[in-house]
């Protein structure tokens, strides 16, 4: 067959594409299970790290099994609430915070109260209940927002007063290493411990203060020098996400 003919070229291209596509499809289906498991383990590990029950050293051999066991032991309940603090049906672990974040952004932009209320109703906010070794309950909630180069996310653990922060972790997709990326360090997240998201009954969130927050400030932590936009992103993320959980917190406070 003439290799330079149009027919040959078309047939060759079509054949090649079919072969490559099927090879990739098989690989994708075959590897789906371990990939999904990795993502679930990472999420569980993140939730556990918020309350200091994640992997701390190198001594644990089978990390996946350890995380599964810790998660089953400590996370006693998980459920979904909407923006009005009402419980909803569904699996809290499966909620994609990115979608919820888009709804939260819409709520911020909506002008009419009716629209806001309807959007709040459609929110799916996950709540994970952690029971510590002394049988005290803490609630762990995810937060999601935007940094300088990409999304930021994290988890916040609150004491049973739904006010004082018990632990926090943050992570990011691609903030500048050494600057914005520092939010993922324990030094940054550790500052949140003991801070409060309410001042009396008013919601204050936690500010990330450039130039440093005074030690006595219950509602502020130090920002990262050189990571201004990332720091601001963390502050906004905390404010916007906690704001939606607000009603749920208020209902459970009494």
């Amino acid at each position: 067959m003439n290799k330079n003919s149009n027919t040959y070229t078309f047939l060759y291209a079509a054949g090649l594409v079919v072969v490559v596509a099927s090879a990739l499809a098989i690989a994708s289906i075959g590897l789906k299970k371990p990939q999904e498991k990795n993502i679930a383990i990472e999420k569980k590990s993140n939730i556990l790290s918020t309350v200091g029950k994640g992997i701390t050293g190198d001594e644990i051999k089978d990390k996946d099994a350890y995380i599964e066991a810790q998660y089953d032991k400590y996370i006693v309940e998980s459920f979904i609430v909407n923006g009005h603090g009402e419980r909803k049906e569904g699996n809290a672990f499966q909620i994609d915070m990115k979608e919820e974040y888009n709804k939260i952004k819409d709520i911020k932009q909506a002008l009419e109260e009716e629209k806001k209320s309807a959007l709040r109703k459609s929110l799916n906010l996950p709540v994970f209940i952690y029971k510590d070794d002394d049988a005290r309950l803490k609630c762990i909630i995810p937060v999601y927002g935007a940094g300088l180069w990409g999304p930021l996310w994290g988890y916040l653990a609150l004491n049973d007063d739904f006010n004082t922060v018990y632990g926090a972790i943050f992570d990011h997709k691609g903030e500048t290493p050494g600057l914005g990326a520092e939010i993922a360090t324990r030094a940054f997240a550790g500052q949140f411990v003991g801070k409060q998201i309410f001042d009396g009954r008013t919601f204050t969130s936690i500010k990330v203060v450039k130039g440093g927050a005074p030690k006595t400030d219950l509602h502020g932590v130090d920002a990262i020098s050189g990571g201004t936009i990332t720091s601001r992103g963390v502050e906004e993320m905390l404010h916007d996400c906690l704001n939606e959980y607000n009603t749920f917190f208020a209902k459970n406070k009494q």
């Binding site: 090649l16 990795n38 990472e42």
Partner: protein, 217 residues
């Protein structure tokens, strides 16, 4: 062109393998594939995984293209090469996501960007299209290793001087640090991409001072 009846490990074949490691190094001599070399060399582990991924892709893409070389229609030559390379890269990415999740997260987009790594297309165009599969495989793997070696050397110095660790283990004694009353501090500049460029420059300088014939007139 490699002769029809070459033994499997003739000097010619071996030269295909060793040449890209020193005199024909894709990064320091041909200055190809520098972009990813800058991005993934802040730590040893991602650098090594990246090196292995590139070796796999260069080796297999050269091999497959060489197998197909007599059937590929000349007009869609580049597209065929791209499809093969892209498929291999996606496979590597999927495997990393399944079995080396932590590292694949650190490498993020750079695994996908292996497709655009000039070394791969360069070797396919310059060598695999005109040679038999075995020499093409050796040439591809050799070039991958040449690339990987530079990555690992750069990552070694960047991680050691930038974070004081190797493979995540603390190497510089803790009590040297100013924070612990010592005299030493990690060089934060080492973690940033520009330092990788400077490191590659230093390697090129050292290599050329040993290999005078590499210096352009």
């Amino acid at each position: 062109m490699i002769d029809q009846k070459e033994p499997l490990f003739s000097t010619k074949i071996l030269r295909l393998f060793t040449n890209p490691i020193n005199k024909g190094n894709p990064i320091t001599v041909l200055i190809l594939g520098v972009c990813s070399a800058l991005a993934v060399t802040a730590k040893m582990k991602p650098a090594i995984v990246m090196a292995i991924s590139v070796i796999v892709v260069t080796g297999f893409s050269s091999f497959i293209i060489s197998l197909l070389r007599n059937t590929i229609p000349n007009r869609i030559r580049i597209i065929v090469q791209l499809v093969v390379v892209a498929a291999l890269v996606i496979l590597v990415d999927q495997v990393l996501r399944a079995y080396a999740y932590e590292v694949s997260k650190q490498l993020s987009v750079f695994v996908g960007l292996i497709i655009t790594n000039c070394i791969i297309m360069g070797r396919i165009e310059a060598f695999a299209l005109g040679n038999k599969p075995w020499p093409a495989l050796v040439d591809g793997v050799g070039n991958g290793i040449g690339y990987g070696l530079i990555l690992i050397v750069v990552a070694f110095f960047r991680e050691l001087l930038g974070s004081g660790t190797l493979f995540g283990h603390q190497v510089i004694p803790e009590n040297w640090y100013i924070a612990n009353g010592g005299f030493y501090e990690n060089n934060g500049l080492m973690i940033l991409p520009p330092m990788a460029l400077i490191m590659v420059g230093v390697i090129i300088w050292i290599q050329r001072s040993f290999n005078k014939q590499l210096i352009e007139k």
